[in-house]
Every structure is written in structure tokens, then in C-alpha cells.
Amino acid sequence: MKKEISLIINDIKHDILVESNRTLQELLSKQLDLTGTKHGCGTGDCGACTVIVDGNAVCSCLVLAVEVNGSRILTVEGLKKDRKLSELQQVFLDLGAFQCGFCTPGMLMSAKALLDSNSCPSIEDIKRAIAGNLCRCTGYTKIVDAIKTVGHDNN
């Protein structure tokens, strides 16, 4: 059964017809061509599909699109401003906080959600924020380092 919903995604308003059982991750990647939000497990265990809904980091595979009718969504594609990388993205790049890149969008969104609520997080704060984001490639050290660096720059 299809329903009409209205969302603001990366500051752009969308009026969409969507199946009731479609997840937010499917809506973003399959229907709206925002393929940055990845499907890693579909059960909320890996965090690859993390986006920010009304300021909160969520696993978009666990959210039905119809549930977020009227919400503000930020995806990885919305991090750039005026076609320039955000500081968070630039630091990830400079410090090598990714390898295969599959977990990276989700990781960036968890980091962004943290930094938006706590601009100078401690290492413990950072670890807790990305505890739900699995990474198989990096061992997390450079990721934590990158987020700490952005936090330090904010100080």
C-alpha cells in the first residue's frame, strides 16, 4: 500500500509516494538516488545505514519511511556545503580514517550527530557514539583520531 509523505532531506523538500513497508534506507538509496546510505545487514547491527533524523543518529534500515513523515533528514551527501568538503570529511581524508569506505558514510553521520551535540567530545564520548558502527578495515584508531581532531579544532 502506498502512502504520501513529506520529508526534508539535506535541506531539500521531497513529497514522495512510498510503500508502507519501505525502510528509510531503501527510500534513500533506491528511490531517491542517495546511494551513500548503505545496506550492510538490514537488521540494525552494523550501522552502515546511519543517517541523522531530527538531530538523532539512527539506523535507517530500522526506520520505516512513513515513520519519518515530516522529519528533517541528513545523509552523507548533505555534509558538503557549496560543493566543498566539510571539516569532518576533510579530516577523515587527511588522517586516512577509511579504507574500503563502505562503513564511512554511516561513521561520518554518527560522528556528525555527536559533534552537533558535543563539539569537543572526549575519547570515551567518541567511542560510545560510534560503538554501533562496525568497521572491518581500519581497527577504528584513525577514525577516533579524526573525530577527536575535529573536536579539538572546535575547541
Binding site: T35, K38, D45, G96, C100, P105, G132, C135, C137, G139
Partner: protein, 768 residues
């Protein structure tokens, strides 16, 4: 180490798309008329298929193709080659593990495809199954493959030297049994591919493969079409670690469905399929016997390995072969005997996985060393240092050690972890452990050889196009190969535009596995860049005069050491921008400038009758050290500190090298402490989601420290060696040795879960 302009520098990764969400992986592609492919899998561990009825599935609206074995040419995949081929793309009439592929459908959407699967009627005749390899070897065990007696796919005995005599000369002999379980690659991106047989019968495959070369070869073989009619287009890959280093079933099945339907077909595995049906690290049972002198010298080593193949061979024969060779190459032991068995069981099956059999044998050998150290009253680090070899050594299986930083690695690892302080400390249940490794930089284990190729083209704007056939599955090779090209050619990094991995356009390369990329593909790129440099200089000489030997390229400008013609050095240095040289050649002489590089190291094929051969032209080394604190009341291990010290020769990009080591350490921590698969009585895998198959999160790991020692290898590009795999090998033994140091309890079965540690401590305490 030498200082270079680009090589050795901390240059950021060139794949910026990975931080913007623009990097496209297979599941991000959508083509017009693309169908969704799904696979029907066996619910039984062992059964004959009496009949398959696909008629109802075919009639379902929206279904465009349903395929079974009858729709294939009945050709088995090659993998490591004869005589080990044992699997068809779809079951030929027997299934051998829960998840074995029986049929597949392509439909207009996922829901329709899944509904169609449920309409396929399969009539099974269940057979008794066997899940334990030692049971599977016994007479009377269920026979899994008709042509293989006692389920023993491979049985080899390797005698390097004379272990029996050497045991007689030993003062003490140690015998232990070690068991290591399976491990999932745990790639964040589930397996998947898109295939399309076009109107001309050309097969296009979009895949995250680590080796387009092998996929092309296999698909050509299975579909009986010329290799040039198979084009592999490589996407970004969400992981690798060996999972995608050979052809995967999804590539064959998506191609088959496309052949049948005439439309592009995308097959993407669910996480459950990814965990329960794709390749795993081979579980092994190892019986290890070591003879030593009272002063600690290792005299003899004998190991019996029973490797659990799972239901099919895949690369098992090669994995086991390499593990056997390394068993003879860890530390200086001249007399080694290894008897190995590769045994079929009715479970998901092993394949190539970072370390290729070595994490298993290294765990056994390195763990036992600490027990030997305790018995002899020698410090474990000292015992290792006493028994390491140096450059110039040839291991019993024939590995020629041309550069070796083992001593430096061990000493640095101990220093970095604070080994002496932890040993002296009276902190209860705190301990330190250390372990080392040897690993190849590429390996001549397949009949195809061990080569890579590259092409470099100079453009009239001074930019350089680098074409490589190698695969970056997150290993940073796009960046490091560009650095090698830039350094050799004399241009800045931003002038290199790298194109990789379209088999129609890029040169042939055997792929990204075996820690070969930096060493072998890197050398191919260096040769190509040097070839181009010489052509550019020749074009310059033709244009300006002078002698070739007097020219060099720096920062994209061709310059001369000497004055030429009327232009005197000092008055105005001879400067000829690279782009101008290209124009001079293409426009004045009509000659395009392409540098070609092909590199195949001077290594040897493994001699299959003796198990010897210098299969790699260089070997990497490392030592890892772990500090743990164990809670005796719960058995939980807190990994307080970890350091990995590596000999990688000249690091092309230190950020990339550190990242590889850290990632490998994390994967090793999972292997050591938490990752496992358990099977019910019917062979079902219980850990079918990330909720149950626990991989390390950031909470499980300390800040992972790395160091690179100052060693270069003359054969490697600018002195570099491989680093992709080594980092995982010493992790488990370093941690287990630390737990042993902390508790007095030696865990011999991985993973070392809290339950094992808790009961181990209790048992060992009760002996006191």
C-alpha cells in the same frame, strides 16, 4: 631509509568519493530493465535431489528466468585447478551443506523473486551428515564426494630434513593439541554482482572482485566463451580479505540468469547468506610436537594438521600447502615434518582469507613457544630472539630470505609495549604476550604465475594516465600505485589520473591477494613509468638535441644537467614541460607515448612432490605485543594495549601501512577472542547475523599502535614489500600468550571466549 619526493610521504587517499557518499558499490548501480536475482539454497546439510519442479515459479508474473543445473553447461569451476575441481555453479543433484545453491530466479523485483523461490518444489532424499573432520576421516563416515575416499581431499607428508633424528637429539619434547575455529571475512558489503549478456553475446559483469583476471577466466570457462567476450568492470569494494579473490557464486549465477533472461541481473546476498554461505577461514586441528635443547635452541618440529575443508575444495589445497610451508619457516628449525589432511565436512567451506592458513599454524607454534619458555625458565622474548634467522637464511621449504627485520621488530615491539615493566609488575591478572610472523609478498601458488602489468600514458597537458589491472579493495593501492608512478616519472601526485579494473581497457593483473600489490603491481607500475620517462626524454632529445643521459624529469619538467645548443646551464636551465614533449612526439613524429610495465618476480613454483620452492621474491616480517588484564571472576579479557611492529621494506605511504596493520590487528582480535560459528545437529549455522557473529567494535579495542622498522628490500619498488595480510597473523598468539602470562592458563582453542578463560583459570588453580 632513503628520502623520496612522493614515496614514503603521508599522502591522503585519492578516493575522495568515499567520504562524500559518491563512491559506487555494486548495489548502488541501477540499470534499465535490471532484474533482481535470488538463490534457492539447500535447507539440508547432505541430501540427494530427486527432482526439482520450477514450473510454478516460471509462471509467476514478473519472473523472467528460473535456472537450475540443466541450464548450465555442466562445467565445474576451476579455483586452484586440477585435480581439485569439485563444484558446479548450481547443484548437479546433490547438496553438501546448508546453503548449497540449487536454483536461482530473476524477477522484476525482490518480493517477486522471493515468492518465486518459495514456488520451486524440490524433492530431497536426506543423507546422514558429518560435521567433525576427525569423524569424517573415519571409515564408515558419510561420503560427501563420490570420488573422494574417507572425505580426505588432500593428504600430504612433507619431510624437510630429518625430524625424527633431530627429536632424538633434543633434551625436551613438547606435545600439544591446538584447535582454531572458522572466521567470516566479515565484509561490510555483502557479496553481489550485476551481469549482462549483451546482444553480441558479450558478458559484462560489475563486481567488487579482488581479481578480475580470475573471474574473467572462470566465467569464460564455465560459459565456454572466449575470454575477450567477458568484460569485468570493477566497482569499489566494501572489503575483501580474500573473500572476493576468486570467482564467487553470485558472479556465475547473475551471469546465468542474464543469459537466460536477456536482461541485466543483480544478485546481492543478504547478511544471512553472507555469513552462512560464503567462504570462511579454514578451521584446523593441529597436533604440534617440538624438540628443544635445554638452552632453548629449537631442534625439531612435527605438526599434524587436520584442516576442515567444509563441503567443497575452493582454495583449500593451496591454503593448506602454504600453511605447511610456513610451518617450516617460523623460527630457525632445520628439521621439520608436517603431515596435513584437508577433510570434507557438511558445512560452509573454507577459502582464501588474509594470512592464507598461517594465522592457524602460527597460533599453535607461537603459543607453544611460551609454554616451552616457561618450562625452560627462559623469558619468551629471549627464547624467540635466540631462534630467529637473518637475511641470507633459506628456510627448510625453500623461502630465500633476502631482507629480514625480525630482530628489530621483536625488540621494538617489546620496548613499545613496556614488556620488561609488565613482566616485573605485580598487578594481578595482568600479562604481556609477544609473537612474530613471516609472510610472502605475492606467491607463485597458481599455475597462472604471479604477474602484474601497468600502462602509463602521458598527455599533452602534462597529466599522466595510469592504467592498472590491480584492485583496490580498501587497501589504498589506487593511492600507493599513483605514488610509485609519480616518483619514478618525476611528476607530482595531482598529475596522476589512475584508471583501474576494466578488463577490456586495463592491462592484465592477477589481482589483489597474497600481499602482492605493492611488491608486484608496484614494480609493474615502476617499470611502466620508467619506460615512459625514457620515451619522453628521447622525444626531448629529438626536439632539442643533447644526450639522453643528461636529462631527468623533476616536477613534470624535463630538465638537463648540461647546457644544450645555445642554451647554457646557469643562464637558463633547459626546461621542457612534459606536455610539450608529448606534443613534440605525437604531432611532429606521430608517435604516442605509452610506457608499458610487466613484472613477474624471480620466484619459483611450489614443487608439488616435495612442498618446496621460493614462492615469493621477498618476505615481510613483524612482531606484535599485547597487554591484557583478565577478570578471573568472569573470564573477560580487557585488551589494554597492543602494538604491531612491521618490516614492510620502504613504506610507500605510511598512513596506508599503519591502516593495514591496525585493521588486521582488529580482525585478529576478533579471531582470538570473539568470532565463532556454531552449528546445530542439522548443520545450520547459528550465527546468521551480526548480532550473533560478534566482530570487534571500537569498544573492544585500545588505540592500536604501529611501528615500521628501517629495512629495505632490493627487489621491491623503492625497497617496498607487502603488508596486506601479515598484520593478522601474530595477533591471536600475542593475546593468548598475554592471557597465559596473566593467568597461568594456556588457552589452546580459539576463540578464547570468557567461558574458556574462566574454566581454564579454575582448572589450573585447582592443580596448585
Amino acid at each position: 631509509m632513503k628520502t623520496f619526493t612522493v614515496v614514503g610521504k603521508r599522502i591522503p587517499n585519492i578516493d575522495i568519493e568515499k567520504v562524500t557518499g559518491d563512491a559506487k558499490y555494486v548495489n548502488d548501480l541501477f540499470f534499465p530493465n535490471m532484474l533482481c536475482g535470488k538463490i534457492l539454497r539447500s535447507p539440508y546439510a547432505h541430501a540427494n535431489i530427486k527432482s526439482i519442479d520450477v514450473s510454478r515459479a516460471k509462471k509467476l508474473e514478473g519472473v523472467k528466468a528460473v535456472v537450475t543445473f540443466k541450464d548450465t553447461l555442466g562445467i565445474k569451476w576451476i579455483q586452484v585447478g586440477p585435480p581439485f575441481e569439485d563444484k558446479y555453479p548450481l547443484s548437479e543433484g546433490k547438496v553438501r551443506y546448508v546453503g548449497d545453491e540449487i536454483a536461482a530466479v530473476a524477477a522484476i523485483d525482490e518480493n517477486t523473486a522471493e515468492k518465486a523461490l518459495s514456488l520451486i518444489k524440490v524433492d530431497y532424499e536426506k543423507l546422514p551428515s558429518v560435521f567433525n573432520p576427525e569423524e569424517a576421516m573415519l571409515p564408515g563416515a558419510p561420503q560427501i564426494h563420490e570420488h573422494v575416499e574417507n572425505n580426505i581431499s588432500v593428504h600430504r607428508v612433507r619431510n624437510y630434513g630429518n625430524a625424527e633424528k633431530a627429536f632424538q637429539k633434543s633434551d625436551l619434547i613438547f606435545e600439544d593439541k591446538f584447535v582454531v575455529g572458522p572466521q567470516s571475512h566479515g565484509n561490510l558489503e555483502p557479496n553481489g554482482s550485476i551481469s549482462y549478456f549483451d546482444e553480441k553475446g558479450v558478458l559484462h559483469v560489475w563486481s567488487s572482485t579482488q581479481s578480475p583476471y580470475f573471474v574473467r577466466k572462470e566465467l569464460s570457462h564455465i560459459f565456454d566463451i572466449p575470454v575477450s567476450k567477458v568484460i569485468i568492470k570493477r566497482m569499489y569494494a566494501g572489503g575483501g580479505f580474500g573473500a572476493r579473490s576468486k570467482v564467487c557464486e553470485d558472479e556465475i549465477i547473475s551471469a546465468l540468469l542474464s543469459q537466460k533472461s536477456g536482461q541485466p541481473v543483480k544478485v546481492i546476498y543478504s547478511r544471512e547468506e553472507e555469513l552462512t554461505t560464503t567462504r570462511i577461514r579454514h578451521p584446523m586441528i593441529m597436533y604440534l610436537k617440538t624438540g628443544v635443547k635445554k638452552d632453548g635452541n629449537f631442534m625439531a618440529r612435527e605438526m599434524k594438521i587436520i584442516a576442515d575443508n567444509g563441503a567443497y575444495n575452493h582454495c583449500g589445497p593451496a591454503v593448506l600447502g602454504y600453511a605447511v610451508m610456513v610451518t617450516s619457516s617460523l623460527y630457525k628449525v632445520k628439521d621439520v615434518k608436517v603431515e596435513s589432511y584437508l577433510v570434507y565436512t557438511n558445512k560452509h567451506f573454507g577459502g582464501p582469507y588474509r594470512g592464507y592458513g598461517v594465522p592457524q599454524v602460527a597460533f599453535a607454534i607461537e603459543s607453544q613457544i611460551d609454554k616451552i619458555a616457561k618450562e625452560l625458565g627462559i623469558d619468551p622474548l629471549e627464547l624467540r630472539l635466540k631462534n630467529i634467522y637473518e637475511k641470507g637464511y633459506v628456510t627448510p621449504c625453500g623461502f630465500k630470505i633476502t631482507s629480514c627485520g625480525l630482530k628489530e621488530c621483536l625488540e621494538k615491539a617489546a620496548e613499545a609495549i613496556g614488556y620488561k615493566d609488565i613482566k616485573k609488575s605485580s598487578d594481578p591478572f595482568t600479562g604481556v604476550g609477544i609473537a612474530s610472523l613471516i609472510h610472502c609478498s605475492g606467491a607463485r601458488v597458481y599455475a597462472d604465475g604471479d604477474f602484474s602489468s601497468a600502462t602509463v600514458k602521458a598527455n599533452s597537458d602534462g597529466f599522466v594516465t595510469l592504467l592498472v589491472g590491480n584492485a583496490d579493495c580498501g587497501t589504498w593501492s589506487n593511492t600507493t600505485l599513483s605514488q610509485i608512478a609519480a616518483e619514478e616519472l618525476g611528476v607530482s601526485m595531482d598529475k596522476i589520473h589512475l584508471i583501474c579494473m576494466d578488463t577490456e581497457k586495463t592491462p592484465m593483473d592477477m589481482g589483489s591477494w597474497g600481499s602482492r600489490t605493492t611488491f608486484i603491481a608496484g614494480n609493474a607500475v615502476k617499470i611502466a613509468a620508467r619506460d615512459l620517462k625514457e620515451q619522453l626524454i628521447r622525444a626531448t632529445v629529438k626536439e632539442l638535441g643533447g644526450k639522453e643521459k643528461d636529462f631527468y624529469i623533476n616536477d613534470g619538467i624535463i630538465q638537463s644537467y648540461k647546457s644544450i645548443g645555445k642554451v647554457k646551464l646557469g643562464e637558463s636551465t633547459v626546461q621542457f614541460p612534459l606536455g610539450d614533449a608529448v606534443l613534440a612526439s605525437t604531432e611532429r613524429i606521430g608517435q604516442s607515448l605509452y610506457g608499458k610495465g610487466h613484472y613477474e618476480p624471480n620466484s619459483e613454483f611450489i614443487d608439488r612432490s616435495t612442498g618446496t620452492g621460493n614462492i615469493s621474491a621477498a618476505y615481510s616480517f613483524a612482531a606484535h605485543a599485547a597487554k591484557v588484564k583478565v577478570d578471573p571472576d568472569t573470564g573477560e579479557t580487557l585488551l589494554e594495549d597492543f602494538v604491531g611492529v612491521h618490516d614492510v621494506g620502504q613504506p610507500i605511504n605510511p598512513i596506508a601501512v599503519e591502516g593495514q596493520i591496525q585493521g588486521a590487528i582488529a580482525q585478529g582480535v576478533g579471531y582470538a577472542l570473539m568470532e565463532k560459528f556454531t552449528y546445530d545437529d542439522n548443520g545450520n549455522v547459528l550465527e546468521n547475523s551480526f548480532a550473533d557473529y560478534k566482530m570487534p567494535t571500537v569498544m573492544d579495542l585500545p588505540f592500536l599502535k604501529t611501528h615500521i622498522v628501517d629495512i629495505v628490500d632490493d627487489e621491491g619498488p623503492f625497497g617496498a614489500k607487502g603488508v596486506g595480510e601479515p598484520g593478522i597473523i601474530p595477533v591471536a598468539p600475542a593475546i593468548i600468550n598475554a592471557i597465559y602470562d596473566a593467568t597461568g592458563s594456556q588457552i589452546k582453542i580459539l576463540p578464547a571466549t570468557p567461558e574458556k578463560i574462566y574454566w581454564g583459570i579454575k582448572k589450573d588453580r585447582s592443580k596448585l
